[in-house]
């Protein structure tokens, strides 16, 4: 049996115990999933206090609604959807979700199919740890600008390092649709990082990323 199926079988055992109101079974489920749910919620809320509360909300929904879970499906996909809903519900209370047009961040091409020569070497910067950390802080802000369906895709695949097929299952979309969202989101973040790398540093002085 593949590790994945093994995990699902073991999840289902806990699910059945929770359906019988077994509090210890629920405790084991919390131990198994709380870190992943917290991390997922953090991706949406980017604030540890809100992410903690969304984690509590997600497990409260799990405990109350476990009867509605269809055991022929993968548990983690169902529960990740519950967790995402909990996080977005908190996000809506906190601030309106703003989105941008991703079309503006697709690379431009000349008629011969080659890209315009706009490529800045932020790659060199991303290999230096201090600069990489600085870029990561910017990347976190850029994630907030993404429409939620794109942010969910890129957060789960690139930050959480989940398999694209699993993420497609969580989001209930085809693998092709997931990859399309993922690619658009990556192109957006890449372009925004290039803008940061190309911008003159605040207060003047040397450019921090090699040309």
């Amino acid at each position: 049996m593949a590790a994945h199926e093994d995990q699902n079988a073991s999840d289902l055992e806990l699910v059945r115990r929770i359906k019988r109101s077994d509090e210890q079974g629920f405790r084991e489920m919390v131990d198994r999933y709380h870190a992943r749910v917290y991390s997922l919620a953090y991706g949406v809320l980017r604030n540890s206090e809100d992410a903690e509360e969304a984690t509590q909300d997600a497990f409260l929904t799990l405990y109350r609604k476990i009867g509605t879970f269809d055991e022929s499906k993968k548990f983690f996909s169902w529960f990740y959807r519950v967790a995402l809903n909990a996080a977005y519900s908190r996000a809506r209370r906190r601030k309106p979700i703003t989105t941008i047009s991703l079309e503006d961040y697709v690379p431009r091409y000349r008629d011969d199919g080659h890209a315009s020569p706009e490529f800045a070497a932020f790659v060199d910067g991303a290999e230096d740890e201090a600069i990489a950390r600085d870029l990561a802080e910017h990347a976190a802000e850029f994630m907030d600008e993404l429409p939620p369906p794109y942010r969910d895709a890129i957060w789960m695949v690139d930050v959480e390092e989940m398999k694209p097929a699993d993420v497609a299952d969580v989001l209930e979309i085809s693998l092709a649709a997931l990859k399309s969202r993922l690619h658009r989101a990556r192109l957006f973040v890449r372009q925004r990082l290039l803008e940061v790398a190309a911008a003159p540093p605040a207060g003047g002085g040397e450019r921090r990323v090699a040309p």
Binding site: E23, A139, M143, V159, L182, L194
Partner: protein, 84 residues
């Protein structure tokens, strides 16, 4: 697929995500790699795309708040016992 047959635009917009995911037929992958070898701008793009991924991986929260599991369990059980 050669450099003539594949434009940079197609490589980047249609193939790159599958290439990075390792979900590409061997023959197409070989052609893409040939293209990358002969097209410096596409190679730079690939490096930027990968650097974007490396940057994003740094966003994963390093620490889960202490006692979170205990707090979650206590919160849920207390709420549900009260409702019974």
């Amino acid at each position: 697929m050669t450099h003539d047959a594949i434009s940079c635009k197609r490589l980047i917009l249609e193939y790159l995500v599958d290439y990075e995911d390792g979900a590409m037929p061997e023959e197409v992958r070989r052609d893409l790699e040939w293209h990358l070898e002969h097209c410096p701008p596409c190679l730079v793009f690939l490096k930027e795309y990968r650097a974007t991924g490396r940057t994003l991986r740094m966003l994963k929260p390093k620490d889960v708040p202490k006692n979170l599991a205990e707090a979650v369990w206590g919160f849920v059980i207390a709420r549900c016992r009260k409702e019974e």
